[in-house]
């Protein structure tokens, strides 16, 4: 399995992804992740809360939990594809963050990502690889936002690493 051990040049890999993305745009819509994650959240919440979830308007009006939502399968597919790639190249092993401050940063980071996606109605994938290539003017706003955010995040990250 030597073939699978070689690291692919990211530029080559992303050009292939770009061509596939065009195909997906033709059949269902461009690559996006945030919507699918929201639907998974809804399904989990439905599993835990049952009918009580209907009291929250968001899950009735905007995202009615259903398994027939194509964007959800993008998240699952990426997980599956990466798992296969990692197993074939013998790179699969459990990695657990060691320090408490890593866990704290990941927790806050995850929360901010979830809130940010729902506030903007888009995630980073739809920003860079779906709406900006469609010349949606919201894409330019979103790109400026994510660059500013990544700058602030990098600053915090550096401070935490130095501390």
């Amino acid at each position: 399995m030597e073939f699978f051990k070689k690291t692919i040049d990211p530029v080559v890999a992303m050009v292939i992804v770009g061509l596939l993305d065009i195909f997906l745009f033709l059949v269902v819509g461009a690559w996006t992740v945030g919507g699918g994650e929201t639907m998974i959240t809804g399904l989990i919440a439905k599993g835990i809360l049952g009918h009580r979830l209907d009291r929250i308007p968001f899950w009735v009006q905007d995202f009615k939990p259903t398994f027939a939502y194509w964007k959800m399968y993008i998240s699952l597919g990426m997980f599956f594809g990466a798992f296969v790639g990692a197993v074939l190249s013998k790179e699969f092993y459990w990695r657990v963050p060691r320090h408490l401050n890593e866990w704290v940063m990941i927790t806050i980071g995850g929360l901010l990502m979830g809130i940010g996606i729902r506030l903007a109605f888009i995630c980073n994938v739809s920003t860079f690889f779906a709406i900006t290539p469609q010349i949606n003017l919201g894409g330019y706003l979103a790109v400026s936002g994510i660059i500013a955010g990544a700058w602030v995040g990098s600053w915090i990250y550096k401070k935490v690493l130095e501390a």
Binding site: I16, V33, G114, Q134
Partner: protein
Amino acid sequence: MHNDPTYQLLASFFFASVVGFLMQRSRFCNTAALRDAMLFKNYRNTKAMLALMIVGTLGFTALMTVGAGHPIVFEVGINQFIGLFLFGIGMVLAGACTVSSWVKSGEGNVGTMWAVLFTFVGMFLFSLYWSAAYWPPASATMSQLPNLKGLQLGVANAATLQSQTGIPAIVFGLIQAAVLAAIYYKIIRYERAAEQARAGAQARAEAVAQTEEATAAAIGMQRGKQTAGNR
């Protein structure tokens, strides 16, 4: 056929499996594309991101010119800036964006699984707020028309530009692709200059080391002569 849900689900699952595989094998990460460029001046992932954006721009706008494809009907609003600003901070802190969190989870990274879990928590918390207030934009404010009170500016993409101006969407796509390509080219030029500077510095360091060695050897020889003379 295109509206058959099973077909859509299979297409997206197949697409994403290949993407996940390629991302895992190329170690591409969208967070790193921004973070590494800012913190370490490393552009490995930034170039890949730009390449994908160029391919996407040309492909999408070409299809939109003939009215094919499924562009997202999506309102331009200030919430996009604020939301992605929060997202940008979050992805650097978590060390993974929406894609790499799934890809790294597939590699067995427990930290990114935790990040995904808390993304879900964040989304759920936000859904509670959404019910309490009608800002940020909800169905009522997102009417696809400019609505300044809801800070919404209406839908504008390559297709609407084409129908409003009469200029084919691909023209806008070519302009955007050219801008992205110019950024890509600038990065390559920067990398070459940095490479040359590094090679130059190394050559200088070697030259200095050589002269020092020669001097040391010369001094050693002199000392040798002196000791020989003293004897």
